[in-house]
Amino acid sequence: MSNETINIEGATCAPSLPHGDQIVMGHGAGGRMSHQLIQKAFLPAFKNPALEAGDDAAILRPGPCLQLSISTDSHVVSPLFFPGGDIGRLAVCGTVNDVAMLGAKPLYLTAGFILEEGLAMQTLERVIASMKIAAEEAGVQIVAGDTKVVQKGKADGLYITTAGVGVVQAGININGAQARPGDVVILSGPIGDHGIAVLGARGELGFQSSIQSDVAPLNHLIEAMINASDNVHVLRDPTRGGLATTLNEIASQSDLGIVLYEQSIPVHPEVNAACEMLGFDPLYIANEGKLVAMVAREDAEAVLTTMRQTRYGEGAVIIGEVTAEPRGRVLMKTAIGSQRVVDMLAGEMLPRIC
């Protein structure tokens, strides 16, 4: 073969595709594309300090002695029912958790339903029953709602949007900007269960799995943690985009570094196996019943002990620490002793070819 056939100069790439002209699925994946959408489309229009804080809920101070945490979340999961949960439980827990992550006690939810023409009444009733159970477990009331019906084919069965409000006790200041160098990073249990359970329910794993979604209300766990320590600085639930994306958000909000210890991050063997086969990384898989916390080192043991006594915190472990450098970045000390960067999820998570 002759050398002339090889283009040594390379120079062979297509122009960039920022997807600025239309919405693609990656805009909803919870990673960098979602952040860019918020930065470019929503923030400039709605600009205010509560929104700009960049947490999953907003803190409002409508009166001199009153602090409220408020959040909203839309739920579009397919299928509607999956091992360990369903869209109803998800819709209650997702908003309860977002409200509670700022140290609030969630009290009230609203629920908006978009129903597709032809949806079985029995399906709706099952979802409502599940919401009732989840709301009772969380100790919140669903106090207002709305229902719209769209034509067959215009929605995937049923979408639910919930909003929630909770009260933050005076003196509590927990949010993504409060991490401090020296804090330990605590994770409440194994990651990746929800995302893999939903993939399995869609029949996309290509094999049977016993993985259950972890969807759960975490407000009682959070209450216990706050009672155990005055030095819980950050709380966040690593939902879409996974643990890696959540930690990048916190590193960026706090303008500090986060160092993780690869070996200490718990992942169920089934989740790991599914990820290995499909070419996913558990660090980017969604969770719906886990939280990460940044806690002062001197209180870490007390907080861990308290967490492990609760239903949704029994697998709590320290997975890393907050450092002064590199600012806004997450690093991982690998099991074999090297170190790498852990980036945010870019767009949509895609399975690998081989």
Partner: protein
């Protein structure tokens, strides 16, 4: 996890790295041919642990990265048709064609579906007799068996609505091309374990002898990779030109002969354009004339589409191991995973994506741990 955790054992890996350190006396440049290996090397930070004498350069073994632009343009045209369900491996969706990608086609109403296996696409064809189902059959030797099986399965089922858009490439002609290049600096190869699991490694001794370059079949876990590096370094230090096998739990000299036979039944060798490299003679596979009915290029009359690439990206030099991703002026700025300039940034196996994801931000005070 069984069969994985054993090969990620930190002490075992460090033991092999110590052995590499004891063995090496000269600087050596090795190329890992496979993108999966590039990804594992950067993910586990293996390059940080190697002695400074060993430089790893990243080869063209990412099937998504090397799929030529005009073939992606053909895919975009076919996928945009209202009568088509276009099925693809997941990471092809983000690869830019001329101004669009499959995500854009999907957003504009094209029926683009991610499948894990081409046999799933055959199933979709069975379930949708009024639609044309097209599978984007890309890849190296590794994905050839399932891709040809899908054609045979469709033939067996008498499906008239299934076809494949073929962009298959083969490793040995790529190695030949790299070693023939006057600017080549690769002195030893880590061969792609999964490719060799299918093909064996009987094709490589003639290449090793012609170019005086030792090669070692290498797996994908940290232990496999450092073991492959150790064996290659041992051969180089002893001035031995051989093809070794450091992945014997999966690879034999002959390979999977049933799979090879099936590939030969459906595919024949042909010239193939590689994105970033150019045309390499007889480096691809295409459908044999008797399977022409399953050729999507013919069925949808997209044969005539040609395309030129942007001059900004240096993916070509990266795929040939001439440059590292961070040496590209666009790396991490104009080019990032969410808006890739080149395919090496697109696929999770692409060298640029691996660098971006695992190493891009470390500044000078951290260079020791990243070497980028």
């Amino acid at each position: 996890m069984k069969y994985v955790s054993e090969y990620r054992d930190a002490e075992l890996v460090r033991g092999v790295i110590d052995e590499i350190r004891r063995t090496v006396t000269h600087p050596w440049t090795l190329m890992e041919i496979c993108g999966g290996q590039t990804h594992a090397i950067v993910r586990h930070g293996l390059d940080q642990l190697l002695p400074p004498e060993i430089e790893l350069v990243h080869g063209p073994g990412c099937p998504v990265c090397v799929t030529p632009l005009e073939l992606i343009d053909k895919a975009l045209v076919i996928a945009s048709r209202p009568d088509v369900i276009f099925c693809s491996y997941g990471d092809m969706l983000r690869v830019p064609g001329s101004g669009r990608d499959l995500f854009s086609v999907k957003a504009q109403g094209g029926d683009v579906r991610v499948v894990y296996s081409p046999l799933d696409a055959v199933k979709i064809a069975q379930e949708n007799p009024d639609k044309q189902v097209v599978f984007f059959a890309i890849g190296f030797e590794t994905t050839a068996p399932p891709n040809v099986m899908s054609v045979l399965q469709a033939q067996r089922l008498g499906l008239k609505n299934y076809s494949i858009l073929v962009s298959h490439v083969r490793v040995p002609p790529a190695i030949n091309a790299i070693l023939s290049s006057p600017s080549n600096r690769v002195q030893g190869f880590l061969l792609a374990g999964h490719v060799c699991a299918v093909m064996g490694y009987h094709e490589y001794p003639p290449l090793a002898e012609t170019f005086n370059v030792p090669m070692v079949v290498t797996g994908f876990e940290p232990f496999d990779i450092v073991q492959g590096i150790l064996q290659t370094v041992q051969l180089l230090e002893a001035n031995k030109i051989e093809v070794g096998n450091a992945y014997s739990r999966a690879v034999t000299f002959e390979g999977n002969q049933a799979a090879q036979k099936t590939i030969q039944q459906v595919f024949m060798e042909c010239d193939r354009k590689w994105r970033g490299i150019g045309t390499i003679p007889m480096s691809g596979w295409c459908l044999r004339p008797e399977f022409e009915a399953f050729n999507a290029e013919k069925r949808f009359d997209v044969d005539a589409i040609t395309a030129d690439e942007s001059p900004l990206c240096i993916a070509g030099e990266i795929l040939q191991g001439l440059k590292k991703p961070h040496q590209c002026p666009a790396f991490g700025t104009a080019c990032a995973p969410e808006h890739p300039l080149g395919a090496t940034m697109v696929s999770s196996e692409g060298a640029c994506a691996a660098y971006y994801k695992y190493g891009r931000v470390l500044t000078t005070e951290h260079t020791e741990i990243t070497k980028i």
